[in-house]
């Protein structure tokens, strides 16, 4: 892709100096409001949170610096370790399974399926629901006394047992289930859109060469959808970080604190336990982890495109 400079060479002889200057500044003026909003609303506040993480702020912010004490406390907290481990399990499984289901359904749906529009809408609609609604419904379906387990018993399968929601070793996986249900259809839509954009002459040529359909998909089509993987990971990571609402509605972090996530931990300590310093430290570590994982990925993907 070629860069478009603010002043392409051809326009150098613009009529008036004033107009020229205005034209030169206009793009910057247009993005300035966003830049200011983002600068304060994201980076300014992040910095502020960073500062607080070095203080012993309790109930409300204070500026009594204690160095790395809050981070040390965090490392000793068993609950924080559980929360971090949960984020790794949840994030990894959620993004992985969504991509898998999304790709498979998109490929299948791209085979001249009758009623494609209706099926697509069915896959996509969970994305329209708020996580509060999703959490409420899934909590109910997975509740052993009211939901699925009772249904199976009523249908005569009396040995059926599914108590993951109330079992502290498995509850985190029920959150993954609900989240996958909600977002995988959206990933399907992204991939379907990507598949529609693939040049069919390439595939025809490969078929002439005798390649089988699975091989064509695996070797040619999927690699060409790399930007779609990028967009999907962006959206999924965004949802994974925001799944605070889902956890609150489904388990509120329980049983015990077995489904605690860093966002829930941070929220509880900052707002209900009056430990703003500790909460800020956990927020900084969470941001640090996101930064460490995502920035290299963003960087490599965005760089790649410049060489197109």
């Amino acid at each position: 892709m070629e860069h478009t400079q603010s002043r392409p060479a051809g326009v150098a002889k613009a009529p008036s100096g004033l107009m020229d200057g205005l034209q030169r500044w206009l793009p910057k003026l247009v993005v300035a409001p966003t830049f200011i909003l983002i600068g304060i609303g994201i980076y300014g506040y992040m910095l502020w949170t960073g500062v607080l993480s070095f203080t012993n702020s309790s109930f409300l912010p204070s500026y009594d610096f204690v160095g790395l004490a809050q981070y040390a406390k965090l490392m000793e907290s068993e609950r924080w370790l559980v929360a971090s481990r949960n984020l790794a399990i949840f994030g990894g499984l959620f993004i992985g399974i969504c991509l898998l289901i999304g790709v498979v359904l998109a490929i299948f749906l791209d085979q001249r399926i009758r009623q494609e529009g209706a099926i697509r809408t069915i896959y996509l609609y969970p994305m329209a629901l708020s996580m509060i609604v999703t959490g409420t419904v899934w909590r109910w379906i997975l509740n052993p006394r009211l939901g699925l387990e009772k249904l199976m018993h009523d249908w005569g399968w009396s040995s059926f047992s599914f108590d993951w929601l109330v079992n502290s070793d498995f509850a985190i996986y029920t959150i993954v289930m609900a989240a996958v249900w909600q977002a995988s259809g959206f990933v399907m839509a992204l991939f379907l859109a990507g598949l529609r954009g693939v040049d069919s002459s390439i595939i025809r040529a490969a078929r002439v060469d005798g390649a089988s359909l699975p091989v064509i998909y695996w070797k040619i089509i999927l690699p060409s959808l790399r930007p779609v993987f990028f967009s999907s990971v962006m959206v999924l990571a965004h949802i994974a970080i925001k799944s605070f609402d889902l956890v609150m509605a489904m388990t509120a972090g329980g049983p015990g604190y077995s489904t605690d996530l860093p966002a829930v931990f941070m929220y509880a300590h900052t707002f209900t336990r009056g430990q703003m310093g500790l909460g800020s430290a956990s927020a900084m570590l969470m941001l640090g982890a996101i930064l460490a994982l995502l920035v290299p990925y963003l960087y490599s993907e965005l760089r790649e495109k410049r060489h197109d």
């Binding site: 299948f108 419904v137 109910w140």
Partner: protein
């Protein structure tokens, strides 16, 4: 690329249909459960199972959720909150989409020194957990005199929505040949002329994507709503939370489910009615990176 594959009744096609239909079922069950439950009586819910049809259909759950259910000391249902949500969502969606369109235009067609850095910063902004910004944002809104106003809430949604809308538009406009813009500039067209005359007319698909995405995100938001809206302008998600967490003796699941359906209705309608534009918009370029 669909034209490469010939249709026919081969076993593989049956398998494909099988998988697709099974997936449909899985995706639909929660919605079916919600719908069936909302038409049941509380008695029916306790005795029957998840997928059993109501023994007698009743809309009591719906009428109660809409106009009678109690959230706190008020027993007016969720209807009032429903309109609050619109008052907040519509301006926030329109403003963030417009800002995103201009940003995307500049970041793809009028690059300047530092514009790539700004784009990267915007991208990272998508990943900030919102819990982190609550307190400083509250302090800022207080200083601006916007605390607990709908305008303040709209501002918050614009700030945290503009990263995604910019991403959508930037990726869409990148795919439009620069030659178009260059030719227009040689003809003496300025910054805004090019945008309104050339890019805007071909932007309908991506506007749809941005509008649908933002509408869903903002309508469904709970955290900002509960924190930044005052008592009587709270959005419906807050009312839903209060309703679901409020119960007298026996939990009225039918009312809960009806309220959840009411809260979800506008976004569901948008997805069902405008869903094809969404896919079309995504196909048209937003996913091409």
């Amino acid at each position: 690329m669909t034209d490469v594959i010939r249709t026919g009744f081969r076993p593989s096609r049956i398998a494909i249909y099988g998988v697709l239909l099974l997936a449909c079922l899985v995706y639909l069950i929660p919605l079916i459960v919600m719908l069936i439950t909302s038409f049941k009586t509380p008695m029916d819910i306790r005795t029957g199972n998840l997928l059993a049809l109501p023994t007698d259909w009743t809309v009591v759950g719906w009428t109660k959720a809409w106009s009678e259910a109690c959230t706190g000391v008020q027993c007016n249902g969720v209807s009032g909150y429903f309109w609050n949500s619109f008052k907040m969502t519509v301006p926030a969606v329109l403003i963030s989409t417009l800002l995103g369109a201009f940003n995307g235009y500049v970041l793809s067609k009028w690059k300047f020194k530092g514009s790539d850095l700004m784009f990267g910063m915007l991208l990272f902004g998508c990943f900030v957990p919102f819990q982190v910004v609550l307190l400083p944002m509250a302090a800022t809104l207080g200083k601006l005199g916007l605390a607990n106003t709908t305008a303040g809430l709209v501002l918050v949604h614009v700030i945290y929505g503009v990263a995604f809308t910019t991403l959508f538009f930037r990726n869409y406009y990148v795919a439009i040949p620069d030659a178009l813009v260059k030719a227009a500039r040689l003809d003496g067209a300025g910054f805004f002329t090019i945008f309104f005359r050339i890019l805007l007319p071909m932007s309908t698909p991506i506007f749809m994507v941005s509008l649908i995405w933002q509408f869903t995100q903002i309508w469904n938001d709970f955290l900002f709503g509960v924190v930044f809206a005052s008592g009587d302008s709270q959005p419906i998600t807050v009312a839903l939370n209060n309703l679901v967490n409020t119960s007298t003796g026996v939990k009225e699941y039918n009312v809960d489910m009806a309220a959840a359906m009411i809260a979800a209705l506008p976004t569901l309608v948008v997805y069902i009615v405008a869903g094809k534009y969404f896919i079309r918009g995504l196909t048209a370029g937003s996913v091409k990176g």
